[in-house]
Amino acid sequence: MDPVMGKPPARMGYEGVAVCVPVTIPYSKYSLRSAHWFCGRALAELIKVAGIAKDQVDGFCISSFTLAPDTAVGLTQHLGVSPRWLDHIPMGGASGAVALRRAARAVQCGDAEIVACIAGDTNHVDSFRKTIASFSQFANDAVYPYGSGGPNASFAFLTDYYMRQYGARREDFAKLCIAQRDNALQNPHALMKRPLSLEAYLDARPIADPLSLFDCVMPCAGAEAFLVMSQDRARSLSLPFVTILSTIERHNAYPDDPIQIRGGWAMDVEGFYDLAGIGPEDIDFMEAYDDYPVICFMQIEDLGFCGKGEAPEFVRRHDLTTTGDFPFNTSGGQLSVGQAGAAGGSLGLVEAIRQLSDSCLGAAVTGARHGLISCFGMINYDRGLCSAAAILSRGSG
């Protein structure tokens, strides 16, 4: 609390906002198409499912790495749209929840009526290498020249430290990866089609100790998208929708931690559940950002499901499949579906909309009412800088 200014004003809720029309442009390992194509096809799918015309979408939130040198601005001309509200979110894996909360405010305030949140990337044979070879100034100067391992090396450090500090074992990470693979087997979009066994996980080719093949996402091409509008508008269009109970966003949290053991969620978790009016015990499933399993463990801890360092035990005690007692990354997550660049930051969000509006592509979590989405992104130097989260609830459309 500020001693001079007194208590900060209470945060406004997201009353009246609807999140709907979950769309996925199917993933492929490589594509000759451009990011413009993936974003454009996502918009085409959004308006087709919503039954609206292109010019009825008057706001856009765009997230993409491979759109460069273009941004959301160039995309408007490419797609022939004239929005009155435009946002480009360069936050990679955190872009989904951030797009959601910005779009929701735009709709609440009347700055836009229908906002399309689109995250899409292509993957040419050499585009991943190019992306990580010039990711940020700090990465160019102080990370990439050291082995050019990209995020594998960065997460190897975090995993190594976490394992030694908190006693996590490879078997614990394996359990999470295997459960997500089980979930993925029912998702037609998942690129990984075969079950994962503990032996296969443990014996997989080492990538960057202690990480091996199944700890790492597979880069691919694809897009995820959804619409944000007023609940009245969603009802008038007969669109099933979900509502937003709470969101948070934080960047460069805990800069004095010598190495990342937590993300910005831990700074904001209290207010997060206060605004939602529910607690971790009321969450029916969790969609976490999962480019590497260790970051899932941090999210489980930082978002209040257990204490710091207790995620290994938590994962041992819970069943993370869609029929388990802690359904987690119910579509299979990026580890089993693939990481379509910035779309990875919306994969869990789009899956949560499906879970809460009875439009699952894969297995549904029975009776799910509240879903938690957690996002993470941008290893600028030695740690991920962006974290965000949202709680979605079944709407009454």
């Binding site: 050291y146 082995g147 090396a153």
Partner: protein
């Protein structure tokens, strides 16, 4: 403990020689400040002039107080190793050729966390010492080694990619007929060079230094006259593919300037030895060295030029000599650029007056020749790029940074 360096094998001409690749070299202007420190073997980071905050990675505005005066200051290189990894996969060809590759995160006592190349004998939790080294591309990188290195620590293969250690490498010393040539030969022998080739010109002229060299084991003498293109070409045809460290130590010192002594012959000789001599050596030996820059743990790695400190500022008492040294220095910069695609480092050793016959009339301090040899070997072992040897050369380097006009007016060294 570090795995001992495997002994060099005889080259199999039927096998393809690994082509040189370089580590990623895309750096910001700020980060090139690290390169300036690594080139001279300093461990310095930006320290905010306003609040004292140590900055890493380099930046233009203080991470703490947003001040923009961030001078480079020598910094405590100690820290502890928080996390480590061994890469089995890399996206860049240089590292792909050298996997597995060890890396770590070091929490510096001075504050920042640093991603660093990691010596084989480092373990998580250990106290380590960081250094700034030039990588094969000539850019600065952080390297972590145990605070007290274990046995064979100099044999670390990753370290050998950063340094230009003479151990188990073949060295060509261009001129064996001077006391400096003898000191260098002895220095490289002591450093464990695999084989030393020593050149000698002017067969009519006896040399006590050359006689002493001839008596050493592991040394082979070859006729080499840097003023004779055919002679240089002939030796390059014999030795080019074998030389891993080139040491150009030829010099020709005569007093005199332009107005007080117009002597075209002396001036031409100086240029012929210092400038054209280097040019001939560069054009004949350079291609072979560059092509063998990635030829295993004993590949070609360095080209040393012993230059006068007067290459940086003219000493009118040795006016034309200084000018020819300046020409050689400029050509050495060209050579540095041309050898860099092979990952071969050009080391310029700037020396003050030597304690030899040609400096008889120069007042002390004069440099012991053993000191010059020791410092050059040390620079190669540490992987430095520019060194000033002795009090005179060091003072000249400092004064040039401080006020080049002052030293131009007042050079009395």
């Amino acid at each position: 403990m570090t795995t001992p360096l495997p002994p060099p094998k005889k080259k199999d001409p039927a096998l393809r020689t690994r082509q040189p690749t370089l580590p990623p070299g895309n750096r910001s202007r700020e980060a090139q400040g690290l390169t300036a420190m690594a080139a001279v073997g300093r461990f310095a980071l930006q320290i905010c002039a306003a609040c004292g905050q140590v900055q890493y990675p380099p930046r233009q505005v203080c991470v703490n107080c947003l001040g923009d005066i961030l001078p480079w200051r020598d910094t405590d290189p100690g820290g502890s190793l928080l996390a480590e990894t061994r890469l089995h996969h890399a996206n860049d060809l240089f590292f792909r050729d050298r996997l597995p590759w060890r890396l770590g995160v070091v929490r510096m006592d001075a504050g920042p966390s640093v991603v660093a190349h990691l010596a084989e004998d480092c373990r998580q939790g250990m106290r380590v010492r960081l250094s700034l080294n030039l990588d094969r591309g000539g850019h600065a990188v952080m390297n972590a080694r145990p605070e007290t290195p274990g046995p064979n620590s100099e044999d670390d293969l990753q370290l050998r990619e950063l340094t230009t250690d003479p151990k188990d490498r073949r060295v060509l010393i261009v001129n064996g007929k001077t006391e400096l040539g003898l000191a260098l030969t002895q220095g490289f022998k002591a450093a464990g060079a695999r084989e030393i080739f020593v050149g000698h010109a002017e067969p009519w002229k006896a040399s006590a230094a050359l006689n002493a060299i001839r008596a050493l084991d592991g040394v082979t003498l070859f006729p080499l006259d840097v003023t004779d293109t055919d002679s240089v070409q002939e030796l390059a045809a014999i030795l080019g593919g074998k030389v891993e460290i080139m040491v150009n130590n030829s010099y020709h010192l005569r007093p005199g300037g332009a107005v007080d002594r117009l002597d075209m012959n002396v001036s031409r000789e100086e240029m012929d030895i210092h400038y054209f001599g280097l040019l001939r050596l560069a054009g004949t030996f350079g291609p072979a060295l560059r092509a063998r820059g990635a030829d295993g743990a004993h590949g070609a790695c360095a080209w040393v030029n012993v230059l006068s400190a007067y290459a940086q500022i003219n000493n009118p008492a040795f006016g034309t000599y200084s000018a020819s040294q300046a020409a050689a220095r400029s050509l050495a910069q060209c050579l540095r650029a041309e050898l860099s695609p092979g990952g071969v480092r050009v080391v310029n050793a700037f020396v003050g007056p030597l304690d030899d016959e040609w400096h008889q009339m120069v007042p002390p301090p004069k440099l012991m020749l053993d000191t010059v040899a020791e410092r050059i070997v040390d620079a190669l072992q540490k992987g430095l790029e520019d060194i000033s040897i002795g009090a005179v050369a060091e003072e000249i380097a400092e004064r040039l940074v401080e006020n080049p006009k002052e030293i131009e007016r007042e050079i009395t060294l």
